[in-house]
């Protein structure tokens, strides 16, 4: 009998704790599929954050370090110097982790051009702690710490990480993708694959931002939240390649 679909070897059998409709499950699967397809599950090391994906070590079937909030890029930078250069190292982080408390670690790992891959899930909200304002919450978007909607005059402005990091010399590849429909899931997989391929070729840091949803804290159904990502999220955070040194080389 021909197998036409299978669970990636890199995912454990542990049931995901994520809310119904959450994009984390999709992106976990894509990371696992890509490393499977590249034959790089063996030797892979993941660094997971504090936030909704804190339990990543239960799902990824590879060596995993659970980092303090925001510190995954620093943890990964040190591991890069210790282990075999052919081992794939990735961090998997949310927006509060990567763009707020861990902004310095993110920017400096990018400045150093560490040969690692950063998977950044941007859903514009603190999910696990219950829907507080994130560094990527959009103007007007409601959160439990800006209940009338984010007012830049009161709450400050959100940050576009890909655009900011693209100004640095260090990163090799920066792309923003989304997973609101199947074609975009496929594009996200291609981006993640390119990111790991560049790490395999020792080209330097690859950074993939996934514009994602949080149905629970958006107070929406799964479908509504994906529609919101498509219409509002991807309007404010435009998809595309922000840096690619392989193109610059040509």
């Amino acid at each position: 009998m021909k197998i036409v679909a299978d669970k990636p070897r890199m995912l454990t059998d542990t049931p995901l704790h994520y809310c119904p409709g959450c994009a984390h499950g999709i992106v976990h699967k894509l990371v696992a599929e890509v490393l499977d397809e590249l034959g790089k599950v063996d030797g892979a090391i993941g660094v997971v954050p504090v936030g909704c994906s804190v339990f990543g070590y239960k799902y990824f079937k590879c060596d995993v370090l659970e980092a303090a909030h925001g510190r995954a890029p620093a943890v990964a930078s040190a591991i890069r110097r210790v282990v075999n250069p052919d081992n794939m190292i990735f961090t998997y982080q949310g927006d509060g982790d990567l763009a707020s408390i861990g902004m310095a670690e993110t920017v400096h790992a990018c400045m150093r051009g560490e040969n690692i891959t950063i998977i950044f899930i941007n859903n514009g909200i603190y999910g696990m702690t219950g829907g507080q304002m994130a560094p990527t919450t959009m103007p007007g978007e409601k959160a439990t710490t800006c209940v009338y909607g984010r007012d830049p005059k009161v709450n400050g402005n959100p940050v576009r990480m890909c655009e900011m990091l693209a100004t640095l010399t260090g990163p090799a590849y920066i792309e923003r993708v989304s997973v609101y429909d199947v074609p975009h899931v496929n594009k996200t997989k291609a981006a993640i694959k390119k990111a790991f391929q560049m790490q395999m070729e020792k080209k330097g840091l690859s950074f993939i931002e996934v514009v994602a949803n949080c149905p629970t804290n958006y107070h929406m159904t799964a479908l509504e939240s994906m529609q919101f990502v498509k219409e509002k999220g991807c309007e404010f955070y435009p998809l595309g390649v922000y840096k690619d040194i392989t193109k610059e080389e040509k």
């Binding site: 590879c62 620093a74 930078s77 210790v82 282990v83 081992n87 400096h108």
Partner: protein, 351 residues
């Protein structure tokens, strides 16, 4: 062969000799010679140095390197050590071995860059959040700094625990003759393959983690951690007695202050006053029994705890003496250092 070494550089070379190959740090006075030295020395021996973007990042790099199974260290000075506390708590929570050096300066806040011992509570009582203790050593000479740094990595590996070595600006900056032990053969270092997350291909994930979200699981972990600390206390507690046999006045002091006390003991004895000194070498575990034994002696009239602080270790001395004898405190702080004559005067005149 003995060579003249600056304290901070001796610590750095002793770490290299001990097999430490990774250092992560951030500039702060008066410990800068440690990162400066290791920035060129570690690449010479196949290791790596990162000047981190912050103390917070540096200690988390230690978490990563230690989690991947490497011998690694960081160093800083008081305000920087405060920033590292979150990471030290995680390192204790994930049971990772590493060495942290604190060349103390005066506080609170930015304080000053002169020597002080105001970080005793922070070092010995946990410092970061949660129930944990690093093993804390307080050497008093450059040679002792070298010897303790050299063995600290083995101790850290043996118990899978962070080890902190504390000195002060005086010890870090001064020069003394010291002999660096021979370079460790790296093939003799402990095998960490069963737990280190260094990228295995045997299908058995190694997880480095301090999240134990179930109360029972986390309580069980805390209990196990403290069983480990009891074993550490049994095996690793260290102190030095100096002129203690017939002592009536007993100083208790650690680090550079202990050496000042030794000079005072000599001078007091020349004046017919029987003084002695207990010098804790480990501050955690504290040599409680060594102090308690002396407290039981009939000849002992009182203890004087001497510190470059407003009085921190004195609390552990009082716990150890347990009311058997008076425990007094003499301290200087803010970066000021007491002279032996100050202690002689205090003993003779009570001030």
């Amino acid at each position: 062969m003995k060579k003249l070494w600056k304290g901070n550089e001796a610590i750095a070379e002793a770490a290299v000799a001990a097999g430490c190959r990774y250092f992560f740090g951030y500039p702060i006075t008066p410990q800068n010679e440690i990162p400066e030295y290791l920035s060129w020395r570690l690449p010479e021996v196949g290791g790596a140095f990162i000047q981190a973007e912050s103390e917070v990042s540096a200690i988390n790099m230690v978490y990563g390197a230690a989690g991947a199974g490497a011998r690694c260290m960081t160093s800083s000075s008081s305000p920087g050590i405060s920033l590292k506390q979150e990471g030290i708590s995680y390192i204790a929570g994930a049971e990772l071995p590493c060495v942290i050096v604190n060349i103390m300066r005066s506080g609170p806040g930015l304080g000053g860059i002169q020597p002080a011992q105001g970080d005793y509570f922070q070092a010995t009582k946990g410092g970061g959040h949660g129930d944990y203790h690093p093993i804390v050593y307080a050497p008093c000479s450059i040679q002792e700094f070298v010897d303790i740094t050299y063995s600290a990595f083995d101790i850290a590996d043996k118990y899978r625990t962070p080890v902190m070595i504390i000195g002060d600006g005086m010890l870090g900056q001064m020069m003394e003759p010291a002999e660096i032990p021979p370079m460790r053969d790296l093939s003799t270092l402990p095998d960490k393959n069963d737990w280190a997350a260094c990228g295995h291909s045997d299908g058995i994930p190694r997880i480095i983690n301090s999240l134990r979200i179930e109360a029972d699981e986390n309580e069980e972990f805390n209990l196990r951690l403290f069983e480990k600390y009891a074993v550490i206390a049994q095996n690793e507690t260290k102190h030095e007695y100096y002129e203690i046999d017939d002592a009536e006045i007993v100083f208790v002091a650690y680090g550079s202050v202990a050496r000042i006390c030794k000079a005072a003991v000599v001078e007091l004895r020349a004046n017919g006053i029987k003084a002695g000194l207990i010098r804790p070498i480990t501050l955690y575990p504290y040599p409680t029994d060594a102090v308690a034994e002396v407290a039981k002696k009939d000849c002992v009239k009182k203890f004087i705890t001497v510190e470059m602080s407003m009085g921190q270790m004195v609390e552990d001395v009082r716990l150890a003496v347990n009311g058997l004898k008076p425990v007094e405190f003499y301290g200087r702080c803010g970066g000021n250092v007491m002279m032996p004559a100050d202690l002689v005067k205090y003993v003779k005149e009570g001030k």
